[in-house]
Amino acid sequence: MALSDTLVFDERLYDAQVLQKAAYRSINSLTVDITSTGGQFICALSSNIGVDEPSFLTAVQEFKKDVLDYQLRHRLNVETQPIKNLILGLAFSKTGLTSE
C-alpha cells in the first residue's frame, strides 16, 4: 500500500516552481500532487511502488530540505540573472565565431 503525507507551504514564502523542482528531484521515491488553495500550496506526497516506510520518511525529509534549497536558489537566480547574462555575453562576444 502506498504511504502518504501532506505538506503545506505558504504562497507568500514559496514559489510554485520551487515546489515543482523539489518534487521532480524526489521522483525516484515519491510523487507529489501540488494544489493551491487559500494562499497555500498543498503538497500531497505518495510513496512509489516498492518504497518502504523508512525510505519514504527519509524521502519526505529530503523533499523538505530540497524545497528550502530550491527557494534559496530561486532567490539567488533572480538576483544574479542580469549579471549572468552579462558574463555570458562577454564570454561569447569574443569567440571570433560570429560575423558582425
Binding site: K21, R25, I27, D69, R73, T80, I83, L90, T95
Partner: protein, 485 residues
C-alpha cells in the same frame, strides 16, 4: 605625476554583490558552491543562507576566498566579470575546434568472445563485417572536412588487427592527404594485442601508431572475462605488451579495464596487476549498457552502489600508493579533477556538455554507417539505430553533421537546460550523455533522479571533494593528477 588613491579607497569593503553560483548539499553539514566556470568552495551549511541574504558579517578570509573564486564582488568591480567570461570561454574553447576523434571500425570480427562485449562481435571468418576501401576513402574525405587542427584516427573492432590491411591503407592514405592538410595527425589502434605480429609492430613504429589495449586484472580474472580459443588472452596480452613496448616505446601502449561482477571484490588485485605490468595508472570503468553486456544480462549483474564501493576502495588504495611514493593515477578521477581544479576541459566524451557525440568524436562503421559515438554503434548492433547519422557512401558531410538525429540529441540533452541539471552545482563537471540515457531510459534527457549515470557521477564528484577537504596530502596528489603534462 601619478598619485595613489586616498586612504579610504584601500579600506576593506564589507558590502558585496552576489555573482551567479550554484550550490548543492555535500553532506549533512556542508554545501559545495560552484561558480560559472566550475571552481568550487565548501562552506558550512548554516552559512549559505546568510551569505546569500547578506545578513552575516563575513570574515576577511572568507571574503577573500569568495572574491578570488568569483562568488561575490565588491560593488562595481569589473574584473570578476571579465575573469569569469575568460574562464568560461577557455573551458568551452574545445567546441570551436569541432571533431577530433575519428573512429574507424575496420572489422567487427574478433578472436575473443567476451560476454560483456559492447559491440556484439562476429566470429573471425565473416568477411562481410570488414570495411571496404571505398568506405575508407569516403570516411577520410569526411575526416579532413573537420576544422580541427588536431585529428586522431582510432581503429576499433572487433579486433582491428584481423583487418590490418585496412588499417595500413587508412594510415597511408591519411598521411598522403595530410601532406597538403598539415594537421596534427595521430593514430591509435584499440587491440587486445593477442594477434600482434612483428610486421604489424614495424608498421606501427614507422607511422607512430600507439596501441590502446585491454587488461581486466590478474590472469584468472582477465581470462574469465575475455575468453578466446586456448584461454590464453592474458598470456597473449602480456607477451604483446612486452613486444610492443620494446618496439614502440614504453609509454606507447595503454590499457583499459572493464569491471564485471567478478572484478568487484578484487579492486586491489586489479590495481596490483597494473602496477606489476608497469602501468602508471588505471581507469576504473563501469560496464556500459550496450551490446552483449545487455544480451547476456552482464549489465544487470551489479548496481551503481556496488560499483561505487569498488571505485572508492580502488581509489583509496591508489591514494595510499601515492602517499608511499608510487606515482599512480586513477584516470576517471583525474579527468573529473581536471575539470574541478583547472579551467581546462580534458574533452572526455562522456563528461561533455554539449554532448561530445558527433562533435568531439564520430564513428565510421564497417558497413558504411556513420554514428554519433562509439556507444551509438554499439546500440545499433542491438537493433537501435537512433544515432545513425547517415551512410558515408550516400550522404555528404553537411547532411551527416547537420542531421536531425545529431542536432536534436545535442540540443535536447544540453545540461544547462535539463531538469535538475540546470540547478546542479556539479553540472560543470558532468556530461549530457544522450546515448546512455536513450539506451536505458529511451529518452536523451531521462529523469535524472532515476539515472544511474547521475547517481554515479554525483557520488564521485562529492567523494573527490570530500577527500580533498579531509586531507591536505590527498589534495596535493589530486592537484598533481589535474595538472599532468
Amino acid at each position: 605625476m601619478s598619485k595613489f588613491q586616498k586612504l579610504e579607497f584601500y579600506a576593506q569593503q564589507q558590502t558585496y554583490e552576489l555573482l551567479p553560483f550554484k550550490f548543492d548539499r555535500l553532506n549533512d553539514d556542508e554545501y559545495v558552491i560552484t561558480n560559472m566556470a566550475g571552481e568550487f568552495h565548501v562552506i558550512p551549511a548554516p552559512m549559505l543562507e546568510p551569505i546569500i541574504s547578506k545578513t552575516f558579517a563575513l570574515s576577511p578570509e572568507l571574503i577573500a576566498t569568495l572574491r578570488s573564486k568569483q562568488f561575490i564582488r565588491f560593488t562595481n568591480e569589473q574584473a570578476p566579470l571579465q575573469l569569469l567570461a575568460l574562464k568560461i570561454r577557455t573551458r568551452l574553447s574545445r567546441l570551436a575546434q569541432f571533431t577530433n576523434l575519428h573512429i574507424f571500425v575496420v572489422t567487427l570480427r574478433c578472436d575473443h568472445s567476451c560476454p560483456y562485449c559492447q559491440v556484439s562481435r562476429q566470429s573471425e571468418s565473416k568477411g562481410e563485417f570488414d570495411m571496404t576501401t571505398e568506405m575508407a576513402d569516403k570516411s577520410l574525405d569526411f575526416v579532413f572536412r573537420s576544422p580541427n587542427p588536431a585529428i586522431k584516427i582510432e581503429f576499433q573492432g572487433g579486433e582491428p588487427l584481423l583487418n590490418f590491411e585496412m588499417v595500413k591503407y587508412v594510415v597511408l592514405e591519411a598521411k598522403k592527404r595530410n601532406l597538403k592538410e598539415g594537421r596534427d595527425l595521430r593514430f591509435v589502434i584499440a587491440t587486445t594485442l593477442s594477434l600482434l605480429t612483428d610486421d604489424m609492430l614495424d608498421f606501427c613504429k614507422q607511422h607512430n601508431i600507439v596501441l590502446s589495449s585491454s587488461l581486466d586484472g590478474p590472469m584468472d580474472l582477465h581470462n574469465a572475462n575475455r575468453p578466446r580459443p586456448g584461454r590464453d588472452s592474458h598470456q597473449r596480452f602480456e607477451e604483446g605488451l612486452k613486444k610492443a613496448r620494446a618496439a614502440l616505446g614504453y609509454d606507447q601502449v595503454s590499457a583499459l579495464m572493464t569491471t564485471t561482477d567478478k572484478s568487484l571484490p578484487r579492486a586491489r588485485e586489479i590495481i596490483d596487476e597494473y602496477l606489476r605490468l608497469g602501468f602508471d595508472g588505471i581507469f576504473l570503468r563501469t560496464l556500459s549498457p550496450y551490446g552483449f553486456a545487455i544480451k547476456t544480462k552482464k549489465f544487470m549483474s551489479y548496481d551503481t552502489e556496488r560499483w561505487l564501493e569498488f571505485y572508492k576502495e580502488g581509489l583509496e588504495y591508489i591514494i595510499e600508493l601515492n602517499k608511499s611514493g608510487i606515482r599512480f593515477v586513477e584516470q576517471y578521477s583525474a579527468i573529473v579533477l581536471t575539470k574541478m581544479l583547472t579551467s581546462g576541459d580534458p574533452g572526455f566524451v562522456d563528461l561533455m556538455n554539449p554532448a561530445g557525440a558527433g562533435i568531439a568524436a564520430i564513428v565510421f562503421n564497417y558497413d558504411g554507417s556513420v554514428y554519433a559515438s562509439d556507444e551509438s554503434r554499439m546500440l545499433a548492433e542491438m537493433g537501435d539505430h537512433t544515432f545513425r547519422l547517415g551512410s558515408i557512401l550516400e550522404h555528404s558531410y553537411e547532411e551527416i553533421i547537420l542531421s536531425d538525429q545529431l542536432l536534436d540529441a545535442l540540443e535536447n540533452s544540453f545540461t544547462l537546460s535539463a531538469p535538475m541539471c540546470s540547478d546542479c552545482a556539479f553540472e560543470p563537471y558532468c556530461g549530457a550523455e544522450p546515448v546512455y540515457h536513450h539506451a536505458i531510459h529511451k529518452d536523451v534527457v531521462a529523469r535524472k533522479p532515476e539515472s544511474a549515470f547521475c547517481k554515479r557521477n554525483m557520488s564521485i564528484f562529492k567523494h573527490l571533494i570530500e577527500l580533498m577537504g579531509s586531507d591536505e596530502q590527498t589534495k596535493r596528489i589530486f592537484m598533481g593528477w589535474a595538472n599532468r603534462c
